[in-house]
Amino acid sequence: MKSHYAIEVVNLTKMYTPRGKPSVHALKGISFTVEPGAIFGLLGPNGAGKSTTIKILTTLTPPTSGRAVVNGFDCLHQPLETRRSLAVVLQQNAFELYLTVLGNLRTYARFHHIPRKEADRRITEVLDQFGLYDERYTHAIDLSGGMRRRLQVAKAFLSGKPVIFLDEATTGLDPINRRTTLSAIREQASKGSTIVLTTHLLDEAEDLCDRLVIVDHGNIIAEGDLHEIKRLGVPAYTLNLIFRNVSPQTLQFLKAQNPLHFKHNDTAADITLQRSHQQILDIIGELDRHHDLVHFEVHTADLEDVFIDLLSRQKEEPV
């Protein structure tokens, strides 16, 4: 029976056994599902198993055990059908160095069996979308790093496949290129593509992803939408404080709260604290009564704080 999920991973394990070295247990039995049309984030520190998961789902490497299904096709037993359903932007750069931008896109279209007229239409679209039109006759080897990365993403979006994997697609991009790429990801998802992305930029995951999974040492340590993930961490709040004057006593008081982050100047301070909301209100009350507080704003912790907290706890209590 075909799964209704775009991606289904069940007890996936992967063991690498390099010659002459100890085995590496890259994945230790992870399971998750991705709904069709969702933007799904796979987060984790370096070496967590994110890229291994992507490699298994894109049929680059077989799993040691478990099941990985993409668009209803088993990655191990139906690799060709699986590959027909997906496009991928790999973590490393990947382009035809000695072909032009247009040559890269045309070759890619041929490999994905896109008819010529349709390919030309889509190529024009992605050239515009990724700001590559003026560089269409430039050889890939002569492009800047950011342009090359954009070309890679443009190829994946050219394919029109139902599932797209982006393995750190915005790494190395400047803010403008990054924004272009993120907009393109949103647009592609709005057309119905399921997008799985890995990223180290947690603000990007926070901005884009419908659901997230946090992986560490081959295990899933958190799964859910953004709010569910944030609730898993110890509550944390960021206070933006404005004073008439930040006195040494005020500084001492704030530092004594053991903040996660703290920065200040003569009249302002930003501080992130892991406290309950009542405790936060108490601290603000104290600042207002005794420390010349003029204005304050309170924000819940961002994903990065939760991420670091979860990983720290994982180190203390490993799965």
Partner: protein, 253 residues
């Protein structure tokens, strides 16, 4: 099978739009033929003694040039493979909607086509400029030898491109292979002129098997029973290289 044309198209775009590739694929062996060959032809003005007859060096050398063409194209493709791995596009290719078999077939098909074109140029120039008289009735077999030879070299040299990760190591090994395999063979000279240890090494060298075959069917000189036996050896070499290459590519990522 519909991915094979895409692979061929990609190889065509890369190899025919670059002067560097075109030079090494099509013209490098001709430089050997037209410069090295002419020089040695003059130096060995009486010719080379083979199978009891004196033949001009150029005629002897043509068969070797055709073998060099095959080997050279295999080497160029191996280098292309290595560069593709190095710049990441090879791994992206493995995620495309095609089987590993289609991928390899497309590459080997392109290689065989370009080797055939290079052979036609070499045979044409050899006949026209150097006055080499060819055994026309056997030319189809020459092209069979070129195609099978090119396929064999493709799979053999591909193994090094897929197994070696370091650029310096790859370049060293491939250049060593080029030198040893081409010079410890019957490509440049008859084996009976060589010391026994070198003759032995040359007899177990697939370049010799291919060069002897091509030499016999271009100018009709050689030991036919020995050549037939060597052809079987080459087919075994092709089969083993094919098997090893396909196993490696399946495990590559």
């Amino acid at each position: 099978m519909k991915s094979i044309p895409a692979v061929v198209y990609r190889e065509y775009l890369l190899r025919t739009t670059s002067l560097t590739w075109l030079f090494f694929d099509l013209f490098m062996p001709l430089i050997y033929l037209l410069i090295f060959g002419i020089g040695f032809d003059r130096a060995l003005s009486e010719g080379i003694m083979m199978e009891g007859q004196l033949i001009p060096y150029n005629e002897f050398f043509l068969g070797g040039i055709l073998a060099m063409t095959s080997f050279g194209i295999g080497m160029n493709t191996s280098y292309g493979f290595f560069m593709d791995r190095d710049n990441g596009i090879f791994y992206e290719h493995l995620t495309y909607p095609m089987t590993r078999g289609e991928f390899l077939l497309g590459k080997v098909l392109f290689n065989c086509v370009i080797a055939t074109v290079a052979a036609i140029i070499a045979l044409g120039l050899g006949s026209w400029i150097l006055g080499i008289s060819l055994s026309v009735a056997h030319l189809p077999l020459v092209f069979v030898g070129i195609i099978i030879g090119t396929a064999g070299w493709f799979f053999f040299l591909m193994i090094f491109a897929l197994r070696i990760r370091r650029n310096d190591m790859y370049n060293t090994i491939i250049n060593l292979l080029y030198f040893i395999m081409l010079f410890a063979s019957s490509l440049f000279y008859p084996l009976d002129l060589l010391p026994s240890w070198l003759t032995t090494a040359a007899l177990i060298n697939p370049v010799t098997w291919q060069a002897d075959f091509l030499r016999y069917f271009t100018i009709g000189v050689g030991d036919l029973p020995q050549i037939m036996l060597q052809s079987v050896y080459f087919l075994i070499f092709l089969a083993v290289s094919f098997y090893a290459g396909t196993v490696i590519i399946r495990k590559i990522a």
